[in-house]
């Protein structure tokens, strides 16, 4: 079974690493900064929200980064913790679970999974603002 997973796995890691190492995300976020500060969403948290559904290890690495620069008890640290804790790696789980049994047509699963993540991210921003601010 592990061997069946390897091709899926290798492609996912390749895609995630290429995307993250290219520095595309920070460049895009610079453009969004004024809009986000209007909504009172810290820009620093956005990469976590975007990487989180794609890769668990990459988002944990980013959370590590937030903890070490801002501290785990800072507002960003708390928000990152809650965001990480209340969402999951939707792309990864869908690829892995469907890949293992040879499902090609995934129908509406991605939309539903990402919608749940989006609500989780919004809920974590609201809840952290209410509880800790």
């Amino acid at each position: 079974m592990i061997l069946n997973l390897f091709p899926t796995f290798i492609a996912m890691i390749l895609a995630v690493n290429l995307f993250i190492n290219s520095g595309f995300l920070p460049a895009i976020l610079e453009y969004l900064r004024p809009f986000l500060s209007f909504l009172k969403i810290p820009v620093e948290i956005l990469p976590l929200a975007i990487i989180r559904p794609i890769s668990g290890s990459a988002s944990l690495a980013y959370l590590n980064n937030i903890y070490s620069t801002h501290g785990p008890d800072s507002f960003l640290g708390l928000l990152g913790s809650v965001m990480q804790g209340s969402t999951d790696t939707t792309f990864y789980v869908i690829s892995l679970y469907f890949g293992s049994i040879g499902i090609k047509k995934i129908r509406y699963s991605l939309i539903a999974g990402l919608f749940a993540d989006l609500i989780g991210i919004i809920a974590s921003i609201i809840v952290v603002n209410l509880l800790f601010n």
């Binding site: 390897f6 520095g23 959370l63 785990p72 913790s81 999951d88 049994i101």
Partner: protein, 193 residues
């Protein structure tokens, strides 16, 4: 469809590296990726093997049937098309229990086995069934009540109160899981099997 997304990520990655004159980095990333994934696979393999073995024990000792019976009223509402007492219900229940306690590495083997078991009920083998999608949505919506990994990470970074985030996590997980179940119900009706 997922393949398209992975492909887009690769395209953006290479495209942007080219655009910023950083193709060297993209090159090394490609070369390293195979090694990195093999390393990761070796790292998760023992855990998966161990939990696969434990799920076998849990299955044969009747623990799975017991757990699934407790969760049955809830699960049969969520998965009306799965026949009562089918093995997949026990596996789904175990996956949920592992997820609730934040044991991601334990949840995956249960989840993979649940998928194999749901595939036996599936009529079109290359297309996801409604029960598979419901299972995935509930699974990926978080479901964690005790985020073990995050608490230990916060501890590592010297937090004065590592568990301070638990209540906030439970509240937002509740909303994301609820949203997942609601959208799944809506889409399920729209795209009938």
């Amino acid at each position: 469809m997922v393949n398209i997304i992975w492909f887009t990520l690769i395209l953006i990655g290479i495209g942007y590296s080219f655009f910023t004159n950083n193709l060297e980095l993209a090159n090394t990333t490609i070369m390293e990726s195979a090694n990195v994934s093999l390393d990761m696979l070796f790292k998760i393999f023992p855990a998966v093997a161990l939990w696969m073995g434990l799920t076998k024990i849990a299955e044969e000792s009747g623990l799975l049937t017991k757990m699934s019976k407790k969760l049955t009223p809830f699960l049969s509402k969520l998965f009306p098309e799965i026949p009562k007492g089918h093995e997949s219900l026990g596996l789904i229940a175990s996956n949920m229990v592992a997820n609730i306690f934040g044991l991601g590495s334990a949840a995956t083997p249960f989840g993979l086995k649940a998928m194999t078991s749901l595939q036996k009920l599936n009529k079109k083998k290359d297309t996801a069934s409604s029960s598979m999608i419901t299972f995935l949505v509930v699974n990926t919506s978080g479901l964690t009540i005790i985020p073990t990994t995050i608490i230990s990470l916060r501890m590592m970074y010297g937090s004065v109160n590592p568990t301070r985030i638990v209540l906030a996590c439970i509240i937002s997980t509740f909303f994301s899981t609820l949203a997942g179940i609601i959208i799944d119900r809506i889409l399920r009706r729209r795209y009938k099997d």
